[in-house]
């Protein structure tokens, strides 16, 4: 690099590299990550498709081509794959529908309680955020035990406070969702609360002052100033929380192990069971693609929603 080249560069405004033959340097920087990207992101997608179209048996070196058999299985009622795949997909959807609104409202509520100055604010923020740093296994073991039929704290508290008999939370269909949902809210609400606190901090105070001069009640300021200004962060929280909820795995695995009778098994747990426990790799790969496609459509729809909302907000 000579000085004349460099000074020539400064004179061409906004063009850091002078027009010359294609430089090698940028590509060398990109190379290490690009190799890993092709090996562990691009290639596995094609390889997974290949696996799902063949009968993959680790012990048999010949992987017979079976075409769409494993996909057709998923859409043929009566096969265990079809029954359990759609059942666990519904379980996961149910969990998402229940947990997302809770995680939105609880996070907003906590953020509203904490955003104006109050004694011990930093402490409270830390307390609500802290469970999220625990690994899913600590969280799962803890909540399985909180709702334990015999000696769980929840049943003990019912006994002491209400004199009520213990409820077999973990082994009752329907009720088994309670510890999973409560555990998840406890575990992740702090992240969303932090996002809401950041957004509340950005609302200009002058808006509230103007509103109060006009005689607005606190509820009116909240309804007509705070809520509309929180719309973008709410959409963001909604999208990220919904996507995370569809990835449900560790909570239900560790708290109920998917039971009773698969009523809380998540679709990801079922796919791993089919793949790793039953060694049905091709079938599991096919399920991965079908679930992946559903997620992709869902994600695309939400990104579309976000893009539209951002545009609408600017206009």
């Amino acid at each position: 690099m000579t000085i004349t080249q460099a000074s020539a560069r400064t004179s061409t405004a906004r063009a850091p590299t002078p027009r010359r033959r294609v430089p090698l340097e940028p590509y060398l920087y990109l190379l290490p990550h690009a190799l890993l990207f092709f090996l562990f992101t691009v290639y596995p997608i094609g390889y997974g498709l290949y696996i799902s179209l063949h009968r993959w048996d680790l012990l048999n070196p010949v992987k017979a081509f079976v075409g769409s058999e494993f996909y057709r299985n998923l859409f043929t009622p009566g096969t265990p794959q079809a029954d359990f795949f759609w059942k666990t997909l519904w379980n996961t959807t149910f969990f998402t529908m229940v947990s997302v609104p809770l995680l939105l409202f609880a996070a907003l509520g906590l953020a509203l309680l904490l955003h104006r100055p109050i004694f011990g604010r930093i402490f409270f923020r830390a307390v609500f955020f802290m469970p999220g740093i625990l690994t899913v296994s600590v969280m799962g073991i803890l909540w399985r035990w909180m709702f334990d039929n015999q000696i769980g704290l929840v049943n003990a508290a019912r006994e002491v406070l209400l004199g009520a008999p213990p409820i077999p939370w973990l082994s009752t269909e329907g009720l088994a969702w309670v510890p999973i949902v409560i555990g998840t809210v406890w575990w992740t609400v702090g992240f969303n609360m932090t996002l809401y606190l950041a957004a509340l901090g950005n609302v200009p105070i002058s808006l509230y002052e103007a509103a109060s001069l006009d005689g607005a009640t606190p509820w009116q300021s909240f309804r007509f100033i705070t809520l509309p200004l929180l719309a973008p962060v709410t959409l963001f929280v909604f999208v990220t929380t919904a996507l995370a909820s569809f990835q449900l795995f560790g909570q239900s695995l560790l708290i109920t192990n998917g039971g009773p009778s698969r009523s809380t098994q998540s679709v990801i747990q079922y796919i791993t069971e089919e793949g790793f426990t039953n060694a049905q790799y091709s079938s599991a790969a096919a399920m991965g693609f079908v679930f992946g496609l559903i997620m992709l459509i869902f994600t695309a729809a939400q990104f579309g929603l976000m893009a539209r909302d951002v545009k609408g907000g600017e206009g």
Binding site: A6, R9, T10, P16, P23, E25, P26, Y27, Y29, L30, P32, L36, F37, T41, P44, I45, G48, I51, L110, L113, H115, R116, F119, F124, M130, P131, I133, T135, S137, V138, G140, I141, L142, W145, L153, A156, V160, W186, T194, L197, A198, Y208, A211, S212, P218, S221, F222, I225, T240, Q247, F249, G250, I271, T272, F276, G288, G292, M295, L296, A300
Partner: protein, 287 residues
């Protein structure tokens, strides 16, 4: 809820009584949030008989360290070893990931070359692909590489992630050109510019990325659960799960084990609290 306090005088007079219910509510919620963690720690110091006795013992009447002693010397698994494994994997991953992302983001943000935008959008589009799609094929690849039960399986596949590239590129774009040009006049090559100018100016975003990479690797559960089945190679989240399967009715020991598993994260959080929450509230929401 917010605002609507007409004069300063009234605001001051009103603050205490008006804030009191809010404060009490926060205290109740904080107690509810802390109860499970307190219960876990408290039980870890109880004898087995006290752990399951009714009515519940809020404070251990006969506190003991036996649970910790037994868990730490258990032949079924070594918590310290799992912690070491987690630390090694998470540190190696973080260093490699931040380095790779910086190398990739640098030309994407600061150089002009054919295909720059195409490559950026190509790798960025992979964020849309759900991880479940590559789970089985990547697992088969690990089998083929003979990487099952090796740290390689826990480190390398995740390094192809692109969110960090995006994060750093956005930050690098904002660094003023003048600094770079002055360095070029002084004869610096691009690697020197990256090392001496870009990276030092990007410490906040590098630190944010590092914290998230470390946390992501430390808390990773599904992938290590299936790729590492050898007890000595397990990471902490997976190892502690095997403990819970063996000690399912020995609550004192189980809670001592989970308490030990939670301690590194709690310490790290107390040290990095500001970084963590600041990083979270800006990442992803920044324009």
């Amino acid at each position: 809820m917010t605002g609507a306090a007409p004069t300063t005088a009234r605001r001051v007079r009103r603050r205490m009584p008006r804030d009191l219910p809010r404060f009490v509510l926060l205290c109740v919620l904080a107690l509810i949030f802390l109860a499970p963690v307190y219960w876990m720690i408290s039980t870890s110091f109880k004898t087995e008989a006290d752990a399951i006795s009714l009515p519940v013992q809020w404070i251990p009447t006969r506190p003991t360290l036996d649970n910790y002693r037994e868990v730490l010397t258990s032949p079924d698994g070594n918590i310290l070893r799992w912690t070491g494994n987690s630390l090694y994997v998470a540190l190696a991953f973080t260093v490699l990931h931040v380095g790779l992302c910086a190398l990739t983001a640098y030309p994407l943000a600061r150089m002009r070359f054919p295909g720059r935008n195409a490559w950026f959008w190509f790798i960025l589009s992979s964020l849309m692909i759900p991880g479940i799609v590559t789970l089985i094929p990547t697992y088969i690849m690990m089998l083929n590489f003979d990487w099952i039960n090796s740290y390689h399986a826990l480190i390398w596949p995740g390094l192809s992630g692109v969110f960090g590239v995006f994060l750093l590129r956005q930050f690098f774009l904002g660094i003023p050109r003048e600094l770079e040009e002055a360095a070029r006049l002084d004869g610096a090559n691009s690697l020197q510019i990256l090392w001496r100018i870009i990276l030092p100016l990007s410490v906040p975003s590098l630190a944010t990325l590092a914290v998230f990479a470390f946390m992501g690797s430390w808390n990773n559960f599904l992938w290590p659960l299936f790729t590492v089945t050898d007890v000595d190679k397990m990471t902490l989240p997976v190892g502690i799960t095997t403990f819970s399967q063996r000690y399912v009715t020995e609550y004192g020991k189980l809670m001592a084990a989970t308490t030990l598993a939670a301690v590194p994260a709690l310490i790290a959080y107390l040290l990095a609290q500001r970084f963590l929450e600041a990083g979270l509230s800006t990442t992803g929401l920044k324009e």
